[in-house]
């Protein structure tokens, strides 16, 4: 109940937008997600409570981006700071969604929500005020890479919402960066709609410091002949949850996902993915990697749903996990639910430590155990990191990870 009280006391009813009212109303009936449900049962209860423990921050907070300075070649947007954008160029345009468009779209999305599955989105939308919602529609070609930052400032609960329409035939590289300060909670909800023939190379890099918390929810609707590629990396969070829901609304679309989460100390990071094929000829290639060290806990749950209408779906899901410490824990559950018969679906999961034979081979060539482990880790990371757009050229993520691991 507390969370609702907190949101309510934070502002007067009059100040709430219609969306906030709808979501608050829905939250009222389930102020917390059903912690016994599949999606939440492994979530650390006290960490989730801690997430909700901070007071809501609706102010714009300036912050320094520790990473590469603004570059001419990219478009950089910071949610909550410079939400005004209107770029109309020769080959493309990037424009803000109008208030009505935003309202209409979000309301439509909410009507599809499943209370438990979309609890993070309900929370997000009931918290994020006007300033913290960024809605864009993009069309055209030769669009420079876009970077979008969300920021969780210390000692507060922050909510940022991103909505992007990719219009027909348009293709974009978009890197989303979630940065969290110490003792902060960030709720990030993202909605993408990929229209016919559009393609999006999406990167998500989320990192915090010791006591950062993150609820990161990503909802993607793919119309036919669209292609969605996601490379994601989550690390250094006391508690982080990455929910991915992708719907190929008419099938005939391509989805590639390569995600990674790294947990250390006492951290818990989880990834939940649900891929719906609502039409034939869909394609999915997904790999999720976890690395758990110290006393941490990494979780992956993926489900692929192939109904009767989704004939000729080709879906593959892999969960690869490295468990590096006696006190760490990994849970993984890749699931397939299939009704169509003419489909190619497979999934796989492994949990192990670094490969001993490979290590020995390198050691017989004079490479020390530490270095050999590093080489192995770097190849383990590389596959994912090289899939994250924009970042690979300008951010030295691999070095950052290797130096910290």
């Amino acid at each position: 109940m507390e969370i609702i009280e907190k949101i309510k006391t934070n502002k007067s009813i009059d100040n709430q937008t219609e969306i906030q009212k709808i979501c608050l109303d829905k939250l009222q009936s389930s102020p917390l997600p059903n912690l016994r449900s599949e999606q939440w049962r492994l979530s650390n209860k006290s960490k989730l409570a801690n997430f909700l423990d901070y007071s809501v921050n609706e102010n714009n907070s300036k912050f320094d981006i520790p990473y590469p300075k603004n570059s001419q070649s990219t478009i950089r947007l910071i949610i909550g700071e410079n939400c005004q954008i209107k770029l109309i160029k020769k080959y493309y345009s990037i424009q803000q969604l109008s208030k009505d468009e935003l309202q209409k779209y979000i309301k439509e999305q909410i009507s599809f929500f499943n209370q438990n599955e979309n609890w993070s989105d309900l929370l997000n939308l009931s918290l994020s005020c006007k300033n913290n919602i960024l809605g864009l529609k993009i069309n055209g070609s030769k669009i420079p890479p876009i970077e979008i930052f969300s920021h969780g400032s210390s000692n507060s609960l922050n909510a940022k919402t991103l909505i992007v329409f990719l219009e027909k035939n348009c293709n974009v590289e978009l890197l989303q960066v979630n940065l969290s300060e110490d003792n902060s909670s960030l709720s990030q909800s993202t909605f993408f709609c990929l229209e016919e023939n559009s393609s999006l190379n999406h990167g998500v890099v989320s990192y915090g410091v010791n006591k950062s918390n993150l609820l990161n929810s990503l909802n993607v609707i793919q119309q036919k002949n669209s292609e969605y590629n996601l490379g994601s990396l989550h690390f250094k969070f006391n508690y982080a949850r990455f929910e991915i829901r992708i719907k190929q609304s008419e099938g005939n679309a391509k989805t590639n996902i390569k995600g990674m989460q790294i947990t250390k100390k006492n951290e818990q990071i989880s990834t939940y993915t649900k891929i719906d094929f609502d039409g034939p000829n869909g394609f999915l290639d997904q790999i999720n990697k976890s690395l758990a060290d110290d006393k941490s806990h990494a979780i992956f749950e993926g489900s692929i749903i192939v109904p009767k209408i989704a004939q000729k779906t080709d879906a593959s899901q892999l969960s690869r996990n490295l468990l590096l410490s006696n006190l760490a824990q990994i849970d993984t559950k890749p699931q397939l639910e299939i009704i169509a018969d003419d489909v190619k679906c497979k999934h796989g999961a492994t949990i192990s430590q670094l490969n001993e034979e490979e290590l020995f081979y390198m050691r017989t060539r004079g490479i020390t155990l530490t270095e050999a482990s590093k080489l192995q880790l770097s190849s383990y990371f590389q596959e994912i990191i090289s899939f994250i757009p924009v970042a690979k050229d300008r951010w030295d993520l691999l070095d950052k990870l290797l130096n910290e691991n």
Partner: protein, 262 residues
């Protein structure tokens, strides 16, 4: 040349070595001494312990030495890590070279070579200088530069893997090379390339141990000594003609030499 050898100090001395894995004894008292310039061949049936012997000399963590010593250049190396053994000049050519997806062959070779060079107090090589060095060595094994940009051994054919092993041997310039069935799975041309590579790399200061089933590698590289292993022991030692005799008479013939405890 042969008589001179004994005056120098041995490179490798294996003394009454007993070893086991998962409490299962594999080596049951192996002794072997290799002097500079010598080529030894170890032959025997599958499962006789010859591959295990090579892995133990290289320091594989799965095996435990329960008795005996391994000395390299006079120093006991029983407790050295595999990388320390490699850096000090012990090279193991794997029977099944390991595939390491994602790790570039060039980077792997460079890190490995520099580790050895560091041990020898030689200057470590940067990427450019190293590429020069590798190009030179590639010629020895007749390999294409394209190999360098691929992942270590991944997708290599059997022959390519073995040539990659010899390339590593050429880069590391070991004092002693133990080549575990380097000849298996090679066609005759590849065998010649590998054999000539081994000959070019070895010299009067290095020792070589060839582990093999067949005579054909020994036709290319003539060993000074041939040892026959069975059930974790060396049951017979002779000169190169022993291999020929073995080829003719088969391993059953050597069963007669097994020392059975009374």
């Amino acid at each position: 040349m042969q008589s001179k050898m004994k005056e120098s100090h041995p490179i490798l001395e294996v003394k009454n070595l007993f070893a086991s894995t998962d409490n299962l004894p594999i080596l049951k008292g192996v002794s072997l001494t290799v002097y500079p310039g010598e080529i030894h061949a170890i032959m025997g049936r599958n499962g006789c312990g010859k591959s295990t012997l090579s892995k133990i000399i290289a320091g594989h963590p799965s095996y435990k030495i329960t008795n005996g010593d391994i000395k390299f250049l006079g120093e006991n190396i029983n407790s050295l890590e595999p990388e320390e053994r490699s850096q000090s000049g012990i090279f193991l050519g794997f029977q099944y070279p390991i595939e390491i997806p994602g790790v570039s062959n060039l980077e792997f070779l460079r890190v490995s070579t520099n580790a050895r060079r560091k041990f020898l107090n030689k200057e470590e090589l940067d990427t450019f200088d190293f590429e020069e060095l590798v190009k030179e060595k590639l010629e020895i094994v007749k390999m294409d530069q394209a190999f360098l940009s691929r992942s270590v051994n991944q997708g290599f054919s059997g022959g390519e893997k073995k040539r990659n092993e010899i390339l590593q041997m050429a880069l590391l310039e070991p004092k002693i090379a133990i080549l575990d069935e380097t000849d298996s799975g090679l066609d005759i041309d590849a065998l010649r390339i590998v054999a000539s590579g081994i000959k070019r790399i070895s010299n009067a200061q290095t020792g070589i141990i060839l582990i093999t089933h067949y005579q054909r590698l020994l036709d290319e590289i003539k060993p000074n000594y041939v040892h026959v292993m069975s059930d974790g022991q060396i049951i017979k030692t002779g000169e190169s003609d022993l291999a020929l005799e073995l080829e003719k008479k088969g391993y059953e013939w050597t069963d007669n030499f097994i020392k059975r405890p009374k």
